[in-house]
Symmetry: C2
Subunit: 625 residues, 2 copies
Amino acid sequence: MNKFHSAPLTAVKLADKFFAPRQQQSFSVTIPSALDKCYETGRIEAFKLSWKEGAPNRPHIFWDSDVAKVLEGMAYSLALKPDAELEKVYDDLVDLIASSQQPDGYLNSAITTNKQQGNDNRWQVLRTNHELYCAGHLMEAAVAGFEALGKRKLLDVMCRYADYIDSVFGYGEGKRYGIPGHPEIELALVKLYRATGNEKYLRLSKYFIDARGTDPEFFYKEEPQMPYNVPPQYRIGIINTIAEMPLREQTEVYGHAVRALYLLCGMADVAGLTDDETLLEACRRLYRNIVDKRMYITGGVGTSFDFERFTVDYDLPNDTRGYSESCANMALALFCRRMLDITGQREYADTMERVLFNGALSGIDLHGDHFFYPNYLEVNDNFVEYHAGRKTRQPWFNCSCCPTSYSRFLPQLGSFMWSVNDDMVRLEIPAANKLTLPGRMIEVSGNYPFEDKFTVKINSGEKFKLAVRIPGFAQSASFMLNGEKINMPAIDGYAEFDRQWHEGDEIICHLDMPFEFIRSHRKVTMNRGKVAVMRGPVVYCCENTDNPCDVSALFAASGSGFTAVELPGGYPAVKFNGFMEKLDGEELYTNKVPEYVPCRITAIPYALWQNRGETNMSVWLPEML
Amino acid sequence: MNKFHSAPLTAVKLADKFFAPRQQQSFSVTIPSALDKCYETGRIEAFKLSWKEGAPNRPHIFWDSDVAKVLEGMAYSLALKPDAELEKVYDDLVDLIASSQQPDGYLNSAITTNKQQGNDNRWQVLRTNHELYCAGHLMEAAVAGFEALGKRKLLDVMCRYADYIDSVFGYGEGKRYGIPGHPEIELALVKLYRATGNEKYLRLSKYFIDARGTDPEFFYKEEPQMPYNVPPQYRIGIINTIAEMPLREQTEVYGHAVRALYLLCGMADVAGLTDDETLLEACRRLYRNIVDKRMYITGGVGTSFDFERFTVDYDLPNDTRGYSESCANMALALFCRRMLDITGQREYADTMERVLFNGALSGIDLHGDHFFYPNYLEVNDNFVEYHAGRKTRQPWFNCSCCPTSYSRFLPQLGSFMWSVNDDMVRLEIPAANKLTLPGRMIEVSGNYPFEDKFTVKINSGEKFKLAVRIPGFAQSASFMLNGEKINMPAIDGYAEFDRQWHEGDEIICHLDMPFEFIRSHRKVTMNRGKVAVMRGPVVYCCENTDNPCDVSALFAASGSGFTAVELPGGYPAVKFNGFMEKLDGEELYTNKVPEYVPCRITAIPYALWQNRGETNMSVWLPEML
């Protein structure tokens, strides 16, 4: 039922100031440094299966996924920027992984090496052992290598593994019930199906989705096989697995945010390919629950550090009690991309764009090798460290999912710009870039979203429909075609040009996208009386670096105008009026009345914060009326 | 070095509207219902030592402490309100507990019954097995029975147990290193010493305090003996034990709040009795850290539900990410009482009073049998349940420390009103009550702190010093002696009357204590731009029940006056001006501007909230300037 698909990876050349530099850094910094870390920490060595009890670097149950994600990124990187040396590393790595495959097709460095429970430790604890999760990431890597580079070796290995998994799980004779504790394989099997055309993989993906939640006790029943007795107070963690009810019956998003979003990606994939309207309806319903009630203004998701999970409607803490994990945010963009493909509806592009310009890229520094695990919206002197949350980006984590996620996500950024089908090309995000498809050569220029104007130049003299998205935030949009003003009615949120194009045709688009104060729904109690600044899809935040006092003492002046400025280093910033609160004394509680001193406040795009040293930061400011 | 002590339990008869009804309910409701729960849940049966593997109600490592706390409360209750039937239950219970003592003096129902690891499971895991903690509570119960009722049986039992513990732990020949994972025995041993005069118990208490933190690895070394492998992510829980450094070197309060405060009580006790100035200085330093940087306006302490612990300076979340556990708050009052006794300094009385009128009693309902475990300062529709936190008070908990703590705390409320020594009687909290000591019969009347005036009538014709505390919050105080205005300079915060009294002498005291808006230190970021309402020591809060809209939509009008009112049910309330925010639409984020509608806001004392059904509540309101 899919209406669109992304443009192929190599068809989009990014040229903007926001995405393009990140992608370039991923080739030169993010991927190489993640690869180094995988070597250093023993993650790659682990595939030699030579680890012995007592040796250092004991293979861990999620290690294979990290290597897989870097490998996936390497494939994209090699396709976009060929590099013979890197390709040799890539091929050797594939050979090593292939060599670790067991005779029956099974492949997992940690489980195969940790033989304490004998070979039967396979599939013993699906809840936490992450075998199916790792398999999924390796499948994604295999498909990336095949589609981007035409390399079959890992694809064949992973098909054999998938065949073996299919022989173990399912409804048929001799198969057992099972679902992954951490979803991922669902979407990966669909990629494998798309790459190979083998419907078995689609059926297995559908099985994992259909079976989920039909036995809500399943993960509890595994506890006797777990390597430690689960202290009772931690059993609540099982909610993270999202297996309380069949997925088609779910009305609210819950559990671990990364798992929830990966699962939604798989659900959307299967729904789109099997015309499963009930499943698609569940995707729509859960999307609405996220976007209407459980998403940070930055597009970040998962609002509790406690189990990295979704909590309840309108619970969106800004400080370190919140979360907004980088991986979850990237996964929301991937889910929106799928829903946009299936439905063609602009709202998914709106959310996708919000995530991309804010919460998805705030997790990595501009240089490309330091990472936030959770992406807080407020960081102050009273910073409480929970789990992997830090005040500055870190080079690596014990559970290092985020750095390796960026290794594969950044090279794919171009895939979010366009939607295509046989009939039409749709410009979803008009950041400067060049699309090169047969008969559809199009160049977007300008400095969107930091300017309100962009130009679309058509370099193919053919007839096709070109649609330009008019974002939900735009109060109006106007267009000039070859210098003439042209009236374009928005059709479902898009301006659709259907014509015979001539090389050099040029559309200048102008969106009404002023800086604005944005408020939260009244039930978001942590933001009562507070405003954030946005321009179009970009959320701004205040850092101490640019302001006359600690950001926690700033008040925004209601009704202030905005002045766009560029800060040293090329930061697109904004200035507006506000006040500094001054309250003398050091009492914790006082009846003294503060003084409010007028000042100018400076804010920069949220995704760029903490690139100039450690500082306090806040997205939401109390408003002085 | 102690300068003062509390008046004996039976010397104070409470007659005010705030404390006296709570104490009465503790006799008729709180203690009987906690006792019932102890029977129902098997906690009392456990002392028969007849539990067998597989039977229900497996004795738990903290059960003995619950029974001990109820027993302690029963002793006070019997002293203040004799009851032959209850006394029979008390005696039988003491007999049962005595019967569970092992030949060598050891006494613990859970460890003795759970023989999986043989008798050697004694003292195997001091970090979590709570044996020394339970022993401490049983010692407190024993001393209560002896001092309040003159009953020796349990005291003798617990002296034997203490003798045995002393033979196990310490520096001497044949003894081992050990400290309790949950402090409590330190303060209890001091009570045992005071009751018996046996210095061995004071020395053992001092040992546990001196030894603590001298081996920071001690609790880690116990892990091989623990009944489950501790998942690595939960090892941070060890910070809760407060054993990272010697106590005299500690500069900031950290770890589990109840443990931290029980430990501080023990430290203060030992410091006072041994003239240990370094230890007392540590108590002072940690007290200042609490009061200046880590205490809710309600006197609540422990600001993270995660491990129920202290976090960092100025981190005081109001919602369910915060904590303010009932037991910790009561313990802060007990610590302040000790520091007040030792130093005579008013600041400890100020904090003690703040806790008593707010965070210490908010944990129990007016009827006396429903409890908050954590005492949040804000409860909204987006309530996230963490651990034992609930939107309404509960009759019991799985780990039911708070209900049993109230069983022993409420009967002791009178002990906070006065400080006495041979020379002087000091009125610390002028809630209506009658003091009856030889030659010092004094009656306080009035409706403090809900009125600014109270009367002190002396019914003994003797010469002694009577000091009346002038609270830190009072901008001024004035006094009338027998109808004549008298100028009383405050000496270190007290008005000191040194004279030959005549029966019927009457002092009328007037404190300047208006309703006021109170603000937080600028670093308490969660309270930026917000105010709370206080009058004297009492913190007020808004419930939906009394207000024209959900409390989350209320703004306080800067500069508003206040009108004291009484609500149905006798609630002493206050009204002031404010605004309701109205923002149309259901978007999570919007550029729409809200309307602010003037309204009257009603607030009631925080300690009385949620006594009229489930409702939203907030202590802090954003301020409209």
